[in-house]
Amino acid sequence: MGILEVKDVNKRFGGLQALGNVNLSVAENTCHAIIGPNGAGKSTLLNCLVGKLIPDTGSVMFDGQSVLGRTPFEINQMGISRVFQTPEIFGDLTVMENMLIPCFARRDGSFALHGIRSVFSEGELRDQAEQMLEEVNMLDKRNMHSASMSRGDKRRLEMAMCLVQNPKLLLLDEPTAGMARADTNNTIDLLKEIKEKRNITIAIIEHDMHVVFSLAERITVLAQGTPLVEDTPENIKGHPKVKEAYLGEAA
């Protein structure tokens, strides 16, 4: 029984069957990759997990509880954090403030009215935030206006915001797209390390096979909304159907 159990999930957009009978089980403290051609329904699947979309049928259980019918913030409070395909950060805020908000969310729950206390008196949270920034190599940018960062930096920030929440399940939608090679490698290391240290389960969508094969312990290949195969990286690499439909020459 995995920490995340997706059963028979279906989702239609008008005439398009975006997800068809998707079953997925992610074991605790593993890294599970979801790959597949563009438009296969990978992001849609993640959207169903975090409450952005509600599946037409099927069930999604996390940690023994159903996530369906819960609002996004409730699902996050259960321990699921997500990095989006296009960076979603608080553009008007500084990097440090961006980091503090998830810290508050973790400490205080979905709503707490600290109307008078100063942000600067939150020493402990600031330390956590700084430490996380350090880990993603962004400490020097902590007072920067986050909207004016380059895109690779925005991605790293978003990932840091999710990691600092110490989620049980981390959902990553192409986290390294547009990231420089060096940072991609750092990210791989970081994710590996954090997964071990903090006992985090990771589900990752990636088109960069280097990342996929370095991180994933299991891989699901999704095509046209249905899982094609699920297997270990080695087997996937050699799988002829996957090669033809997805990997092309890269394999």
């Binding site: 438009g39 992001s43 395909q85 547009g178 092309g248």
Partner: protein, 251 residues
């Protein structure tokens, strides 16, 4: 190897050199932050130039400056395209003389369907590929033609963004991380297309984090670091120079 092109201060290089697109001593700012710090380079007709560098090096800024976007502001410098002074034009004028940009964040226009996004590109002359031909290259777009553009999957949006550039008759194509978020097979497909249009005489500047892939395609390469050119030479040279690769590209 740290070659800066040799421009004598007084000569207007662009009028003498055989270059097709020529950037001369360009300085670009976002508000008060000084990003592109005086770069000069030439691109010859029919050439593919790879523009490489770390996150935040200023690649996107350079492309946006050439495309004459409102930000960054180019405070100094000249940009010539085929003997026309781009630096005196606004972005729509630059587009009308044959410049096209595929922006890094795709910029699909909300509220418009896929087809309308493409039609929009063909309103102002010069018109390039027909919409049918585009659908041949990207069948997925054809299938989704009446879907709202922004609801496309990430990769589909990237296809649409490239397609929109092809829908115009371009002399110079600026590609900002065009492979991002695309399945490996599609990347192969696009690479082929780029070769084809190169044959037809299109000049291309390619910004890409996957440096190896970019260098295999490109004729020449420029490496940017914190807003300055640190290398300008043939693509093969970069692939061979391990030190350069390690220092600036981490590969």
């Amino acid at each position: 190897m740290n070659v800066k092109p040799d421009f004598s201060k007084n000569a207007n290089h662009a009028q003498t050199a055989p270059a097709f697109l020529s950037v001369w001593d360009m300085h670009a700012y976002y508000g008060e932050s000084y990003i592109v710090q005086g770069i000069s380079f030439n691109v010859h007709e029919g050439e593919i130039l790879a523009l490489l560098g770390r996150n935040g090096a200023g690649k996107t800024t350079t492309l946006r400056a050439i495309a004459r976007m409102d930000s960054p502001q180019v405070n100094h410098g000249e940009i010539w395209l085929d003997h026309q002074p781009l630096h005196k034009m606004s972005s729509y004028e630059a587009a009308s003389v044959g410049l096209g940009l595929v922006p890094e964040d795709r910029r699909i226009i909300p509220g418009l369907t896929v087809e309308e996004n493409l039609q929009l590109a063909q309103i102002a002359p010069p018109v390039g590929w027909s919409i049918e031909r585009i659908y041949d290259l990207f069948p997925r777009l054809g299938e989704r033609r009446s879907q709202e553009g922004v609801t496309l999957s990430g990769g589909e949006q990237q296809m649409l963004s490239i397609a929109r550039a092809l829908a115009r008759d371009l002399k110079v194509l600026l590609l900002d991380e065009p492979y991002e978020g695309l399945a490996p097979v599609i990347v192969d497909e696009i690479e082929k297309t780029l070769r084809v249009i190169k044959e037809q005489g299109m000049t291309t500047i390619l910004v890409e984090q996957n440096a190896v892939r970019a260098l295999q395609l490109a004729d020449r390469a420029i490496i940017l670091d914190t807003g300055s050119i640190v290398f300008d030479g043939s693509a093969a040279e970069v692939l061979e120079n391990a030190q350069l690769r390690a220092e600036y590209l981490a590969i």
